[in-house]
Symmetry: C2
Subunit: 480 residues, 2 copies
């Protein structure tokens, strides 16, 4: 369900941290294309905007100088809303091209996420603990990155190395904004799947779910698949409202704990579809979960029979969800709380959306396959005040960062994928020779940032080529 | 004396607020070129970086729509470290050119200065009260301006009006930084006498006083004048150390209160010379004080006799200072505390220098006419901690704003004057077709921002012409 936004961009993190709680994450995956980068810690001022706070925290960053020469460029990834290892493991493009550029490769963790947390914070933001989270914001994080990059340049480089930022999703927004706000430090940015204008008044709140629906409709048997999904919401509600219905749903869906509300199941199903749309990559991968190639196709295979209903529909839906949650066949049950988990990162990103990063989501059940939901800033605010005690700033992100108004920007490539629902907040038209939009047919969420793969569609190969050309140009400019 | 920086950029404010304490300031001077602008108040969020603070304050801004048409540009002055009336009265250039552009003219006061103060702050920053001043910074002020301009555009304009920022000195830094940090809001900036790289490691701390000295040396009898000034420091010290010497100095200089330290007199004299260099305009004006045309010439007339010494030197110095402090002949005595006054604005700017705006000043008595002083960040820090309880950030302003590294910037004219000591932290070379440096021969501190005057040197007429051409270009670009 999309009455709140708490289940989109950050699902990456949610699942990631579910994994990390299971001890599977926080590891850099070995790859024959790069040696393990080295871990460093950097002492950052806790508050860049409050001069009375002298406290600091330790920021993690990873550096690989495997291909670096002293006057080479620095390829920099400004970490998203999760542990930095996730991005090290899933931003193969930087590793792939580092050798030909003689680049230093640097990944820095975003404050408060992963292990770059101030010492004394509790795990969960609440109205009581919120004062400890005041310094969690994109502005503070970018100030960290600016300070860190200045340090790296002066110590590892020659003091004058060109810096190219790479980022995907929220990290892509940060990459673009680093170029915009710290153009004297960052010489160019590859901003992949960066929804820089996904803010109230600048985006149709229903557009995200419309793309998700389109992604499901386009596969073999897509029509039947979408139709079945369309019907599942009522079937879940109706079943849940019958005597013994919740027990029945719990049993059909093999939930780890008995369901208390049917809507919880619906929300979980609906969020899963959004995630599938994001990671509908053309080859098996392990970004969010272990998944087959084109997971939407595989999911829809379970929902390909026309006009399923009742238990048959629910059982088919359970099997369909198994593609996302149990591709390895190791899951004994489904944890339908995983989008509402107490994992640090979900809570933290949700908090960010309740301050500056206000993102509106809704659906109408007509242009999309979801249960109709509305979005109002008033309801959103009430929810934020209840959960965190903060009043979100509806228009501040646009005032602060400019959204899609990029006339004064330079040296940014914005890439977006055809399959990615986040494209609706992205930059899809080039603004100038220097602020360029690249559209990737057949591409999901920042596919271009991944390692090259034999199954890459031609459009992503072309996108990377354009990106490399721009990076060459930016480095040349920076060295003049 | 220049052991601290507390007496340079902000002297404008010091004197201004001395005046306002006397009830003479906080008034907009009537001028036949414009009708009085209208006062408005705007509710601003007290803290743009701390989401747990919901408090607000009222920001003053003045608007003139005398020449405005609905789709015309907005000429915007981001207020400096003083009451906004001072800048309304001394930025005639905006008024002069508004009619031909059909521009809306807007002056906004900088938070904490003038009357745009949060309700509950005390007048003086100290280690005890400093928590109330946390929100006084350039970043917070610029966030205010961004929010205000967005509001004005949407309410007074057509929502799409080009915005040109004009500013002098610290206001010039803010104008340039608004273009750099909020390029989606500000389409171009005239940054006059803006010392954007007057920060540690990026400027020779003695360069400021060297320019002041050069300004005194260039006038008729300049050689004698400088020579006499060179000698006055020792004469003041020697006289003050004799029995009855302080009384003698107090008497010669007609000080309002008996002197307790000779060094206080020296500091006061030395700061006055810096101010004279800033306002060495070619016609009588009332910017800091009522002053004749070319006040340094007039000052030096009192010091034109070769090799003055003893009482003769001190008496001549007193008469010389009278040019700055008693041109109207109405002063009964000299208040040598005026650079160390408790006036709000001095204290506030000094506080800003003790957080982000760290500016180093020194002199060697060889390349300048002053008593030798050194500057170390260590001593500076100790002083800040003592006065305000804050630890200054030596390199943050450069990391945050980029100093003179303007390769990624666009649409800024940086003007600097030959006579202005602040030029040493200014941008004196054009960076591109779009980031342009204009040097004004015979110009003092942001002379170009003043009303046109029959006694303007040709260079300032030319500078304004270039500025107007760029403004035309920026407006045209913005409307595409």
């Amino acid at each position: 369900m999309k009455t709140t936004i708490f289940c989109h961009l950050i699902f990456v993190t949610v699942l990631h941290c579910t994994l990390c709680l299971n001890g599977q994450a926080y590891k850099i995956v070995k790859n024959d294309k790069y040696i393990y980068p080295k871990l460093h810690m950097f002492e950052q001022k806790l508050d860049h905007y409050n001069p009375t706070i002298d406290a600091t925290f330790q920021q993690r960053y990873f550096v690989s100088d495997q291909y670096f020469v002293k006057d080479g460029p620095i390829f920099f990834y400004p970490g998203n809303e999760g542990a930095i290892e996730l991005f090290i493991n899933n931003t193969g493009f930087m590793w792939d091209i580092a050798p030909s550029f003689n680049a230093l490769v640097v990944f820095a963790e975003h404050r408060y996420y992963g292990k770059s947390t101030p010492n004394d914070i509790s795990l969960k933001v609440s109205p009581k603990s919120v004062h400890k989270f005041v310094q969690l914001s994109a502005d503070q994080a970018m100030a960290d990155f600016a300070v860190l990059l200045t340090h790296i340049k002066a110590t590892v480089g020659n003091g004058n190395n060109p810096i190219i930022a790479f980022g995907g999703s929220y990290g892509g927004m940060l990459a673009a904004w680093m170029r915009i706000k710290y153009g004297h430090i960052v010489d160019g940015a590859i901003a992949a799947s960066a929804p820089v204008h996904y803010f109230p008044g600048h985006v149709d709140c229903g557009a995200y779910d419309a793309v998700v629906t389109k992604d499901f409709a386009r596969v073999t048997n897509g029509k039947e698949c979408v139709n079945n999904i369309h019907h599942v919401w009522k079937t879940v509600t109706d079943t849940g409202s019958q005597p013994g219905g919740l027990q029945k749903l719990s049993s059909i869906f093999h939930t780890c704990k008995p369901l208390k509300k049917a809507s919880k199941l619906s929300d979980w199903i609906s969020d899963t579809f959004g995630n599938l749309a994001m990671v509908d990559y053309p080859y098996p991968n392990n970004f969010l979960n272990p998944l087959p190639a084109f997971p939407i196709n595989v999911t829809c295979q379970h929902l390909s029979q026309a006009d399923l209903s009742g238990v048959q529909l629910l059982s088919a839906m359970r099997d369909a969800l198994g593609v996302f949650y149990n591709y390895t066949g190791k899951a004994d049950c489904f944890n339908v709380s995983s989008t509402e988990t107490t994992s640090l990162s979900t809570n933290l990103w949700n908090y960010q959306t309740c301050t500056d990063m206000v993102m509106p989501f809704c659906s109408d059940g007509i242009h999309d396959m979801f249960s109709p939901t509305t979005w109002t800033f008033q309801n959103f605010t009430a929810n934020c005040r209840k959960k965190y005690g903060t009043t979100p700033r509806e228009h501040w992100a646009i005032t602060n960062y400019g959204g899609g108004d990029l006339k004064s920007a330079s040296n940014i490539v914005f890439s977006n994928g055809e399959l990615d629902p986040w494209q609706v907040g992205g930059v899809l038209q080039s603004v100038s020779d220097s602020v360029v939009a690249v559209y990737i047919q057949g591409g999901a969420h920042h596919l271009d940032l991944r390692h090259s793969n034999p199954d890459d569609p031609p459009a992503v190969i072309q996108a990377r080529k354009i990106e490399i050309e721009h990076i060459h140009k930016w480095i040349k400019q920076a060295k003049v």
